[in-house]
Symmetry: D3
Subunit: 244 residues, 6 copies
């Protein structure tokens, strides 16, 4: 059976497990999902800094798993996505881009609901790069920390519902939930608000499965050409070990 | 088994068959492809006029097949796609948009190679609407009539290869083949030119399959709301019967 | 005297008459307006589906009236406009595009007030295609059905005035009324709100008259090339006769 | 009879006369064209500097002719157009914008052929401001000085024809001739190259005539509000008298 | 010592002095600032008309001061900036563009707070031309006349603070103060609202100083080529002397 | 004296030295340049992968040098720029963005000449993010490896000159040299081709000096907010030590 390698670029294993469970529901019958938590990196990816320091751990993980038939980067910011496409031969799909493309297939305009306002410019940049910013009615922040999504007091859902209301008012016909931790809420929110609610993990699983089915891999003659050298000089130690 | 209804909005059955064969290779194991040729319409869709007159036949076909789990519009111009989304509840994917989204997942920039230069503005408009025009390095015409693609003298492939060379020179890292009749050439061209070559029919099959797997249907609270009335007043006769 | 053929692509004759009366006020002295209601089509054009099914009736009407010196498509969504330009040699102007171009000549930014929210994405797509979306401060829906505009209870005007206030708040300096049924209100609204209010029918009459005066017809060497064949295979009957 | 004031913002009277003759052919029967050459300004407008110094003479001329029913700025760069709209109540149309709007009504994409390459960025800026840059396939310079267009040696036409060929290769379906001095060539070029060739002066005459017919004047509640004061402090002498 | 010529294109000397004082704080140690008020022009620049009539006085001033090492146009609308670049060889920086570029270096999105709403479209046009409109979250007007900024009753600051609150709500991370008269407030507002507040005069002083340090002057082979002739025909008298 | 920390995010010290020398020529009199080579990272940054793996070393270097008055990221791809802005309080300027902003102040359109074609999409993405893509006439690759720029056989300059010619043909009025190793060629190329040639290192030195002079630091209330935690879990070892 063909194999999809789902990599969580932060070190929180419970988040990896939740992503894997969701992805398996979509493609589990015909494709094997192998979920991997990076060995080193930030605990969650909240903003530019976390994304930058997560890159090396992500590259290490890819190099240690070079033979999958497809890869999913399980971070809504699509951290390291372009670099990953240079490093491996099989197709790679980011959780954010997957959600945006899926939402584009079922609505004229969609909104994105994310956790922290510091993530808003990152998501806006990605939308611009992908070309899909004109399809987006707004990137809305709930200001819930990523890890708080895992607690059970209902505050997270209340804040997400407030942003669902705002999304509708902005003319969005569909909503993308912009955080791996929100995956369990999609069905309920979709029913309550009467609009498609798209999660990136399941979307990425579907899209990378499609690329595998189609036999289409990443272009290698331009910006995604394989690195001339993967060498990395010196050692990284000053803050890596301290925080372990 | 869930069922995808693939509709060819022109009346050329051999083209429907070729599309169905290609689509089945992608999803045949887990989804049933039901290929339908419209009962009435133009022989091929080459330009704005053909697209406009094809719409009614397409709507009739959709109304006669309301229960599929997903729909593919097998025309690279995505003729009638928006109207189809209003009419049925299951997800609908166009052959053109499918190819553009797939190509966006494996390249920074792609080129589109189509048949007639009169189709170029239509494809450019679609790319702008979808937001993906900035991902497109150029829409290139071979000036081969759609039906001539089915002949065997090699002229069609020669002209397509000329445009492959041009696509590379424009900085495209992948190529979309913009005509249902080109589906059989993708693998050979991809190998010869060392770049992904994306066909819309197989792409649409993969994407609508993904939407079915994800349980995501078209948004119905905005521009894709169901028609208030499907009624059509008067009869269409003056040129329909004449050409039959 | 030169002759403009004004075609209403829906089957409601009272709307055709109102459009013709408005157009005649603009060009009646020097150009003859011949107003035609399509023989078959939807009762009003509200959304993508109605636009798609209206296309064939519109093409039939154009083929039956090939000799006018200019054409107006009397539908704010510019239904079938591109196809019409392929089919006839004389210039064709759509009601929506006319209003947008006129408003661009007298304001930095304009707003569009239309009837149903399902028409908003269609108008936004058209503005993007024409290039004028950046001139538009917003497309606002009153949520009045098109045919209700003809009733006399004042509700329609009240809702339009609410959107006039909103248009000003969005920074619009002029307003386009986005429905054929709103033509009678332009002068009163313009005076009450102190800003230009542009109607598409009179705008289209003026612009197609200008194109006739200039001797400029549609380009025929690219996307508007004449159809290779106007043939239409099969008959359209399943829902056409039923609704008659 | 209503009166259009056509103002040439450079001091070359022969150019004013040629513009007036062209404009009269379009609207002469129903509207009076009054052509005025500014009393002071540059001999021709070639680039940013000429445009800037032409503004004061243009404003003086407008203040001396406040009662026209419409105004044409007979300079392809639309010099002083925005300021003119603030100063007078009747509608004002620039020669450049008129040509771009007209070309947009008859083609998917048009090219602009102008005289000097130093004018190219000015025209590109205007297209961006108007929103029509995406309709433009290219702004091409012949590198003929404006006044040389009036000589008779055929060199000017040869260079323009070279750019017509280039325009077609860029995918333009229509061409805008971007200089007042080119007005006499439109018909011949259109026939030779089989595509619409749009001149701005006749276009502006048609469009301002349309605005007059429609009773639509410039919006006055935003950026085109009347100046708080028209006062100008000090005298302008250092280079004005020297060059006279 | 190298010399920057700061030109105020309106005739209000107190505004020139305030600009010069601010600019000297930035570059005074290493570059000489020579502040010049135009001899003729409007009292303040509020809208398109004032900008147009200010151009000739600005050009006269530049011609009388041809030997500076750099120039600042001390008007937030960047009046006459392009023409100035044609006329002199040393680099020229406008107050508006300077502020936009500076704000782009310290924030994802910035807002612009200006005085009159009639200036909003001018600033929006400039942002579009420079390419920085996508970096701008909104151009907000306080509706304080430029000269009223010099009075001391606190009304001006109150209105600016209201717009600071609005800027934050629009997602701006930094604010540009869009008027020469606001320069004294930047530090206090920045501290109160906890975000960078950028003033154009000091920004322009820094940027033109940088261009001088780098030895980079304006490109002269395209749109900024030197005028073929600086001649101006006729005299300007009708409203210049009257208002003096 | 205030202190600028110039960080080379690759491990090639000779490149750091060349950058430092260039930067000192610009600001050496009034600001101290402290040039630092990262302790760990790739030998040069050529493409997405190198950029991603360089990020951690760059963050370590910033954390070890938290007290500078300003920072320069000496990599044309602006690697890690956004993350750096989150991490330190003083302003940070990237070499690429500096060059684009400087070129925007002296030309309508500029071209970028870089080394490898795999860097082209990275530079295009950055231009889009900054908003300056519309100011760019093209990103052109010489296909010289970064380190080969340091050899002396003239091949590098020959290839750069070929692209200078191409840049002019594309309508560029200025050229940005897109690689740290090209800094020594700017003056000669500028003189030979008669157009401004902008280098990013000296540009960044000028711009960060300006930000220091203006007292303007990075906005901290949105996407550049300080990281909640700088902690990094686990150790990075698998390829770091191997390549040392």
């Amino acid at each position: 059976m063909k194999r999809i390698c789902l990599i969580n670029p932060n070190t929180t294993r419970s988040m990896t497990d939740a992503c894997a469970d969701a992805a398996k529901l979509v493609v589990g019958d015909r494709l094997h999902i192998e979920a991997i938590t990076v060995a080193s990196g930030p605990e969650s990816i909240e903003g530019h800094y976390d994304g930058a320091v997560a890159s090396v751990g992500l590259m290490e993980t890819l190099m240690a798993n070079p033979d999958a038939d497809g890869y999913i980067i399980a971070c809504f910011d699509d951290t390291g996505l372009d670099a990953a496409r240079c490093l491996v031969n099989a197709p790679v799909v980011g959780m954010g881009e997957a959600a945006f493309h899926i939402a584009s297939l079922v609505s004229h305009r969609f909104a994105v609901i994310t956790t922290l306002s510091r993530s808003v410019p990152i998501i806006q940049h990605n939308l611009e790069r992908y070309g899909l910013s004109r399809r987006c009615a707004g990137v809305l922040a709930t200001d819930i920390p990523v890890l708080a999504l895992e607690s059970d007091d209902g505050e997270a859902e209340k804040r997400i519902e407030e942003q669902m209301v705002r999304a509708k008012a902005l003319g969005a016909e569909a909503v993308v939930l912009g955080c791996a931790g929100m995956v369990s809420m999609t069905r309920r929110l979709s029913e309550k608000f009467g609009m498609p609610v798209v999660d990136g993990i399941t979307g990425a699983a579907g899209l990378v499965g499609t690329l595998i089915d189609l036999g289409i891999a990443t272009a290698k003659l331009g910006g995604y050409a394989a690195p001339v050298s993967k060498a990395y000089h010196g050692t990284l130690s000053s803050f890596g070990t301290a925080a372990d």
